[in-house]
């Protein structure tokens, strides 16, 4: 359990989420893949908060120790933003379902045609 191992796991989750967001037709699967990417980023941030020393820690620890949990604070913000985004994304999915009767992205070509 080291920083590199955690980052490799997070990179794998991110790549899988990226494939799902690009290559799937169902809107809900795309939203779930975006949530996967958010989780991967959170994992990277928390791993860095655990292992990486903030700037100036080696020289003056007592003064610069406030930056140790910065990664976790950022992860809290990302969780809040992800919650807001999924709520609105699902609202858009419902609007799409009501107006065109499908949730398949290959059929959502109104802007193209």
């Amino acid at each position: 359990m080291s920083l590199e191992n955690m980052m490799i796991v997070a990179a794998a989750l991110f790549a899988i989420g990226l494939y799902g967001a690009l290559a799937r037709r169902n809107v809900l699967v795309v939203l779930m893949s975006i949530e996967l990417m958010f989780n991967a980023v959170n994992l990277t941030l928390v791993a860095m908060a655990r292992y990486v020393a903030p700037a100036g820690l080696a020289e003056d620890l007592a003064r610069n120790i406030g930056g140790v949990l910065t990664g976790q604070v950022f992860a809290v913000f990302i969780i809040a933003v992800a919650a807001a985004e999924i709520a609105l994304g699902l609202g858009i999915v419902f609007a799409m379902y009501r107006s065109s009767g499908t949730i398949d992205l290959s059929d959502a070509t109104q802007l193209r045609n």
Partner: protein, 194 residues
């Protein structure tokens, strides 16, 4: 191998396997349940990284609210679902994902990370493992702090950071949530017939 390494590999394998299932499994409801598995294994990884508060927040909000919302959406759009189908660009997308994975792994392994040194680890642990406000003077002295300069340590916990140094992003996220609620209401409002 230590027990902690075994637990890490088991949680990582479960997370990556469940993530592959989310993207590839045909039935959408199973994919959502596998997404819940991903959320909970990532919460387990957070606990291993001494971020217990974040692990609880992850389970509460991701597995407890976001996953339920997605299950609602899956259930309400059941009649037009054709399953989890790939679209036309799946081969280039897979290639791009593999390329990105290689780039990220190479970056993670090659960068000389500025890691916390062994001697500082005991002091940093006081901040990282839970409630800094409950830290006593004996704990500070045992970790090696000079008792005259411990002001910054007592203010280094998550709550102090959120209301202190990061108060501007905190308020900005509040405004974002307000905008999200208003936007959601605008989306689901029934149309007024002319």
């Amino acid at each position: 191998m230590l027990v902690v390494d075994v637990v890490f590999w088991v949680l990582s394998a479960a997370a990556i396997g469940a993530a592959l299932g989310v993207v590839l499994v045909k039935d959408l409801f199973r994919a959502t349940l596998l997404l819940v598995v991903v959320f909970i294994t990532v919460a387990g990884l957070f606990v291993m990284l001494s971020a217990e508060f974040l692990a609880v927040v992850q389970v509460l909000i991701y597995a407890g609210a976001i996953a339920i919302l997605i299950i609602f959406a899956v259930m309400l759009t059941r009649d037009v679902q054709r399953g989890n189908l790939p679209n036309r660009i799946q081969i280039p997308a897979a290639a791009l994902s593999a390329l990105l994975l290689a780039a990220l792994v190479w970056t993670a392994v090659q960068t000389p990370w500025n890691l916390i040194e062994e001697g500082d680890q005991a002091k940093v642990d006081l901040v990282q493992t839970g409630s800094v406000s409950a830290v006593t003077d004996e704990d500070l002295a045992a970790a090696g702090f000079d008792l005259r300069e411990t002001g910054a340590v007592r203010k280094a916990g998550l709550a102090d950071l959120l209301i202190g140094e990061f108060v501007l992003p905190f308020e900005a996220v509040s405004v974002l949530l307000l905008a999200a609620v208003i936007g959601a209401l605008a989306l689901v409002r029934p149309r007024i017939e002319e």
